[in-house]
Structure formats: structure tokens, C-alpha cells
């Protein structure tokens, strides 16, 4: 089945770049070794580590500082599109409250008295003029305000959603690692030109570890609605899918990778969903 799809896709005329997602076979060590290499915690057993360019935002033109190794369990996990969809739906619905309201027979004004006697008139028997059978009567099983739609997606579904989204971004060349988010100017045109020059797609999400960002990028991206900044603790599947490109700082990469790997190799897996379970062991 897969062979069928790949055969068809090979015939389509899309300009895809030739480098694959797996590690480069040629040991090209001629790039500058001024950047500190990354050591992977939890050495991967079944997949090769992936490599990604470390870039810089100092100039509008593309500037690659060197290669970094990233963990395949986080950035080359199975791209579960259905799990990504579940995460996106959950993010939309868990805080949604429906305020739609219809009046039922006891809420509609009037209808307390029996309209006519039970027997003798030759008419159908009725108890109230607001019963659901009547025009103007109450609605049966209609929406009742406020109705929350809160539910918790299982912890490991949410974790799989994050790894799938990051893998999808990395596989489609929409993930970039940057040494720092300091820009040379506070002009918004600088960011716009940079994004355009590097073909980073119209919408970009910049992620750093802390919630206090450098002044330059904060002011530059303040007025641009489609280029946003976010701390690492706010990283979510919806935002990753909404924005075309994801740009992480090296510190954010370390933070995210270590957190996700910790959860993937956790000892006590029951405790994560314990507080959302009621009356269960």
C-alpha cells in the first residue's frame, strides 16, 4: 500500500530538497567547530540521531553556525496525524463553554393551569399550554446554558501529539534552531525581510525558555500578528500547526528535549492522570 503512494508521489512535480531526514552519511566536519556539540541523554537505541543547522538572526541572509544533534524520539517520532488532530480538538474544546439555552416546559412563561377539563369537550386532553406538543411550548432535550465541554486527553496522547508535531515540523524543514533571539535592530521590517529572504513561510513562532524575551525581538514582532513569540512552557500542538515555521533557541531546544525525554522514560506512569480520575484506583 505504501509503495503505491510513493510511486504516485514520485511522478508529481514538486521541488523537494534532496537531503533526507536521517543522519548525513558523509562525515562533513569542515563546518566551523566553534559551537558546542550536544550530547544526547537517553542514547537512542533504534534510530539514528538527527542533525539540524544552528542558525543566527544577526543578518537578514542565511547564516549557519554549525550542526547540532537532536534526539530521534522527540524529532523523528512517528508522525501521528490523528493524534495531532485529537490534540488540536482538545485544545479547542476543553475550555469551551456553550451558552446556548432553550427553555423547557417549566421555564416557558405560563402553562401552570389545565387549559380545559379532561373530559366532556371532545377535544384532546392536555395539562398545560406549554407542553412540547404545543406551539410555543418548551423544547425537549434542548441545549442548556452553560454547558462545559471539559475533558482531559490522556497524558501520553498529549505527549505523543507534541512529539508528532515536532517531528512533522522537522521532517518538512519548518524547524529552525537559533543561538539567540537578539536582533540588531528593533525595526519590524527587519524581521519581515528576514522571514521573506529565508523562505520561512509567512507565519513564524519564536520559542525561548524564559518568558522575558530580548527587547529587540519583542518590539519588532509586536505589531506583526503572524509572527509570534512564546516561552517554552507554552509550546502546544495547536500553535505549532497554526504557524508555518517554528524557530527554537538552543536553550529552548535543550529544555524541551530534556522534558519530553524525561516523560518518555518515566518510572511511575500512573501518577500523571491520577488527579483527573474520580472514584478509580
Amino acid at each position: 500500500m505504501l509503495a503505491n503512494i510513493t510511486a504516485k508521489l514520485r511522478n508529481c512535480t514538486c521541488t523537494a530538497r534532496k537531503y533526507a531526514t536521517s543522519a548525513l552519511s558523509t562525515t562533513d566536519n569542515s563546518t566551523s567547530t566553534s559551537i558546542e556539540p550536544r550530547t544526547l541523554t537517553f542514547p537512542p537505541k533504534y534510530q539514528e540521531p538527527r542533525q539540524i543547522w544552528l542558525e543566527s538572526l544577526d543578518s537578514i541572509d542565511q547564516s549557519k553556525l554549525g550542526l547540532l544533534e537532536i534526539h530521534p524520539s522527540v524529532f523523528a517520532a512517528r508522525p501521528r496525524i490523528d493524534v495531532i488532530h485529537q490534540n488540536v480538538s482538545w485544545q479547542k474544546m476543553y475550555r469551551y463553554v456553550s451558552y446556548a439555552h432553550t427553555k423547557s416546559r417549566f421555564e416557558v412563561r405560563g402553562g401552570g393551569r389545565k387549559p380545559w377539563p379532561q373530559k366532556g369537550l371532545g377535544r384532546a386532553r392536555h395539562g398545560s399550554i406549554r407542553s412540547p406538543l404545543w406551539r410555543g411550548g418548551g423544547v425537549i432535550h434542548g441545549p442548556k446554558s452553560p454547558t462545559p465541554h471539559f475533558y482531559m486527553l490522556p497524558f501520553y496522547s498529549r505527549l505523543l501529539g507534541l512529539t508528532s508535531a515536532l517531528s512533522v515540523k522537522f521532517a518538512q524543514d519548518d524547524l529552525h534552531i537559533v543561538d539567540s533571539l537578539e536582533l540588531p535592530t528593533e525595526e519590524k521590517s527587519y524581521v519581515e525581510e528576514l522571514v521573506k529572504e529565508r523562505l520561512w513561510g509567512p507565519s513564524v513562532l519564536f520559542v525561548d525558555v524564559n518568558d522575558v524575551f530580548p527587547r529587540s525581538i519583542t518590539i519588532a514582532t509586536d505589531e506583526i500578528k503572524h509572527i509570534n513569540i512564546m516561552p517554552a512552557y507554552g509550546l502546544n500542538v495547536y500553535s505549532m500547526m497554526k504557524h508555518d515555521t517554528l524557530v527554537l533557541t538552543r536553550a529552548a531546544l535543550d529544555h524541551i528535549e530534556s522534558k519530553i525525554l524525561e516523560h518518555l522514560h518515566k518510572n511511575d506512569t500512573r501518577a500523571v492522570m491520577a488527579k483527573f480520575k474520580v472514584d478509580q484506583q
Binding site: 531526514t21 508522525p79 490523528d82 518538512q172 500547526m241 506512569t269 500512573r270
Partner: protein, 291 residues
């Protein structure tokens, strides 16, 4: 050799960008619950015909429309009287224990007690459901080969023989439910900031078990225990191995009958944030916690 993950990721390079507009759930994942219409699912909509059921006014479970129902016909017999209050010991087999040791989940260079077994995350205990500790079963008694200092709450003769034949030491000890609540989740217990409680004595029907040297009870005479070790070796036909001198200190490490954790006395308050231990100096408290 590529696997399906690699294939899927390389496929993605030729497909359009994954965004909010082109993702969906797997077919059949969401089943729309709609009211049936027409020939199948329509008409009575699964509620039957007339009566209390179609009118959604169901009778209580077990009600048999008036006659004496089954669940009330027979008088109460005392076969299971008090079963809900009996002490329960969820089992752990010797094979499981050996697997935990082989996969490095349990450190054999330290004494193994209930806290160690619970900390592996693979054995769960619920003290509020009358669980009083771990019971060691004899599945894996023939393959058990680990020199450990083991402390459980109940162990049969075969299990004791298996552990001692391997060159280990086994003890049975009692923990009251209040102490068990502290042991089940030690991190959250320390975070509560309350002093480590002192372990209570076993109830009257358990004192005999824990004072019996044949059961390696923690309240029995240690000399009698060494006698019983010889007796058991003769009974099961193995030569009692000499305890390994390199780990002799570890094998002899025991807890006081009032102690819950190794090395930590009752009455102490552990501060995980500042990494200090607070010890009481009041005479009354010291006397109570027997420090």
C-alpha cells in the same frame, strides 16, 4: 533497513505542509450517536414496547415485579462474615522479584523492604483498601538466586527456604495503615511536613505470627531464628550457605520495631526543599518517639 516511521517521515517531505486545515482523525474513531430513523433503529428506538421501560421509568435492579426477589430470598449465612475487614497482602512472586533485580530496578547492595518495592513503580499498594503490605509467593522459588536482605509482610515456608538457600536473609514485619500511607508515596509524605510516625505494634491476631521464629518474625528472638534456619535447611534438603562476608553488614541491617524507614527515626521532619532534617528537642516528644 528502514521502518515505517522513517518511511512516513520521508513521505512527509513530498506532501503539503501539515496545518490545521488538513488534519483529521482516523476513519471510525468518532462514532456519531444519532437517534435511529426508518426501518433499522427507528420506531421504538431500542426502548421496547409500552411498559415502564419504554416510558423510561425503570424499576430498581433486582426488583422482580412484586414477588420476593432472588437477592432477598435467602437469609444471610456467616460464610464471608467480616471478609471486608480482613487484612489483605497483594502478592509479589519470587520470579517478579528476580526480574526486578535482573533489570536493575532494585539495588541488591541495599536492604530491600516494602518502600524499595513500592519505589520501583511496578508494584502498587492501596492501604485504604485494607492492604497491609507485600506477600511473597513461591512462583520462581526454584530459580531464585540473589543474596538479599529482604523484609516482607507475609511469606510461606517455601519462600523463606528459597531466599535462605540463595544466601539471603528474610524477615517478616508488620506496618500499620498510618505508616503504610507514609510509605506508599514517600515524596508526597515528606512534602506534607509532618513528623515521621512511629510504627504501631501488630494487632492481637497477628502478634503470634510476627513473634514466631519459624516465620522469621521481626519480634522473635534472633537466636531462635538461626536455629529455625538450620531446621528449614534440613527439611528442604539444602545446605545452609554461609552468609557472604562482603555483604554481611548489609545482610544484618535491621529496623527497630518502631521505625518505618531505614536510618530515619520517628519524630523527624524531612525538609526536601532545603535538604535538612528537623529533629525535636522537647523532652515530651523525645519520650514519645523513643529517641
Amino acid at each position: 533497513m528502514s521502518n515505517t516511521t522513517e518511511k512516513a517521515l520521508s513521505l512527509l517531505r513530498y506532501l503539503p505542509r501539515v496545518c490545521l486545515a488538513n488534519i483529521r482523525d482516523n476513519p471510525g474513531a468518532k462514532k456519531k450517536s444519532r437517534r435511529g430513523r426508518a426501518q433499522h433503529g427507528g420506531d421504538y428506538h431500542g426502548a421496547g414496547n409500552k411498559g415502564s421501560n419504554q416510558r423510561q421509568n425503570f424499576m430498581r435492579i433486582g426488583y422482580e415485579t412484586g414477588n420476593n426477589p432472588f437477592y432477598l430470598r435467602f437469609p444471610h449465612e456467616p460464610y464471608y462474615k467480616g471478609h471486608h475487614l480482613k487484612r489483605q497482602y497483594p502478592p509479589l512472586s519470587l520470579l517478579d522479584l528476580q526480574k526486578l533485580i535482573d533489570t536493575n530496578r532494585i539495588d541488591t547492595s541495599r536492604p530491600i523492604d516494602l518502600v524499595t518495592i513500592l519505589n520501583t513503580g511496578l508494584y502498587k499498594l492501596f492501604p485504604d483498601q485494607h492492604h497491609f503490605g507485600v506477600q511473597l509467593t513461591d512462583e520462581g522459588a526454584d530459580i531464585f538466586a540473589a543474596k538479599i536482605n529482604l523484609e516482607v509482610q507475609w511469606a510461606s515456608e517455601q519462600v523463606i527456604a528459597a531466599v535462605e538457600k540463595a544466601g539471603g536473609v528474610i524477615t517478616t514485619a508488620y506496618y500499620d495503615p498510618h505508616s503504610l500511607q507514609a510509605m506508599v508515596n514517600t515524596k508526597s509524605f515528606f512534602e506534607r511536613g509532618i513528623p515521621i510516625p512511629r510504627r504501631m505494634m501488630p494487632p492481637p491476631d497477628a502478634i503470634e505470627y510476627y513473634s514466631n521464629p519459624g516465620n522469621r518474625g521481626y519480634l522473635s528472638d534472633p537466636e531462635k531464628i538461626s536455629e529455625e534456619r538450620l531446621v528449614l535447611a534440613q527439611k528442604y534438603g539444602y545446605t545452609l550457605p554461609k552468609l557472604d562476608s562482603r555483604i554481611l553488614e548489609m545482610l544484618n541491617e535491621t529496623k527497630d520495631p518502631r521505625q518505618i524507614f531505614y536510618g530515619l527515626h520517628p519524630g523527624w521532619v524531612v525538609n526536601l526543599k532545603d535538604k535538612v532534617i528537623l529533629k525535636p528537642l522537647e523532652e515530651e516528644l523525645k519520650e514519645f518517639y523513643a529517641l
